[in-house]
Subunit: 280 residues, 2 copies
């Protein structure tokens, strides 16, 4: 069989994955959803033909997204996840017995239901009793909710299609309003390397910096996202990203494959060209 | 024009670059050499259809390869470069007025001459009066030379074809013999992510560790090498990789685009799965 899934990382760069089987394809009310099985990456799914998560490296994205803020503030108990339909962020949150409530607001129920069926590696903790699933627009949810959160995880797609609002100034301002004083916002923050993601990265950073007392980025090696150099945003009015407050024993007990406390600090150290982009 | 250069990162993963022009192609006595111009990466060249260097991100590889050891031991004056036909490592070495002699031993003269013609961005310092070019087999050179070096830079291709010997135990042992007591060896050390490069990476590390008192790896984001997560090896009998002995003023004066002293330390901090591979 000689069947490839190809993603255009830019107009001039392609990344292709040999597939074993095209498991599922549907145009949902929001986006085109596909699940594949592959030789190199195991199962993976795409939205509008863009890689979201695969069995081989999803641990990197989800560990970095969740254990970074949980280490800065281990007293977090009430978490809001926006997006994150594959359940990987919820899975990492569920490792903490100290977390009491996880509200996940995902616009596209079909993504969640198919991930539960076809990608249990990421989705298997969505049935945890602490998890409340709400299928709604995240922008509207943060505008309307009366709840206050310790941690908001913006686990979005790229800022085109349904993910676009999750990179808007209004959305970030509403996140700030529903954040407790000691709260943290983390987000999927695109890549500094290729031009299109770089521009989105700079815009997101500028907005977050104008709203929160502290806004910075941290990075990880994610081989299946464009360029493999991926950023996360950290924003808070009171917490500092380099504060290691979580217990080493607890983190060690999770047997993570990527994140550790030294990686936490190292992920904040940026190459000169990325620092220069963030100053602009 | 709709012309692509495609590299197989594994049997099941392809990376493709849209090319403007195929500038040069030749089967040399050692390997197949091609130069291209591209929309996204500028000019680049390949050996046996594997990306070696491109104008967009070669700075990352060359800065990390050279400024890392020069920061650990700024007293280095006599340097041996094995391979490195594009001249990028020599260019970075030439920034240091303290370096008195650079011997570059490259097996394939055609690579050097075509890089001087078609890739002056990397090759333009090969004419520096401190640089001595020797077109010979690096394995034989380190076996026969009577010279002693402060720094040996193994700027090799992958361990297949002409680069194979530069990953052998005998070659590393001969490097150790021609290294001054305070000397350092750095090498292109493959990637931990995909299986084939991972196996080569583990083998190289095991050999270096059995020969030198200290052998470790450090990493960088290099988007056009397979997985984008690339390692360098550091080996020495007396020097420690985390020692920042170089002057911050000097490094700042170079206006580098990737490397800085904080990146130096952060590049030594490895994800858990990479640490586990190196313990094996």
């Amino acid at each position: 069989m000689n069947n490839w899934f190809t993603e255009f990382w830019t107009n001039h760069i392609k990344f292709s994955i040999r597939i074993k089987e095209h498991l599922f394809s549907q145009q949902t009310p929001f986006q085109k959803l596909d699940f594949y099985d592959s030789y190199e990456l195991g199962r993976f799914f795409t939205l509008d033909d863009i890689m979201m998560a695969n069995e081989k490296d999803e641990f990197i994205y989800h560990e970095m997204m969740i254990h970074f803020p949980m280490t800065v503030n281990p007293k977090i108990t009430n978490v809001l996840v926006i997006g994150g339909g594959d359940g990987g962020s919820v899975r990492e949150l569920c490792r903490y017995s100290s977390i009491k409530a996880i509200t996940m607001v995902e616009i596209d129920e079909i993504v969640v239901r198919k991930a539960q069926e076809l990608l249990p590696q990421t989705a298997h903790k969505l049935s945890d009793p602490r998890v409340k699933l709400i299928f709604a627009d995240g922008c509207q949810f943060v505008r309307d909710t009366k709840e206050q959160y310790d941690l908001i995880v913006i686990d979005s797609t790229d800022p085109i299609g349904p993910g676009e609002g999750l990179f808007s100034r209004e959305f970030y301002q509403n996140c700030a309003k529903i954040l407790k004083p000691e709260g943290i916002v983390v987000n999927q923050h695109e890549s500094p390397y290729f031009e299109q993601t770089r521009i989105e990265m700079m815009r997101a950073h500028e907005k977050l910096r104008s709203i929160f007392a502290t806004a910075t980025v941290y990075q990880a090696f994610i081989p299946t996202y464009p360029s493999g150099h991926w950023l996360f945003g950290f924003a808070s009015n009171t917490q500092k990203p380099q504060s290691i407050n979580g217990s080493k024993e607890l983190i060690d007990s999770f047997n993570l494959k990527y994140y550790n406390h030294e990686i936490h600090l190292a992920s904040l150290v940026l190459p000169n060209y990325v620092k220069d982009l963030l100053k602009k």
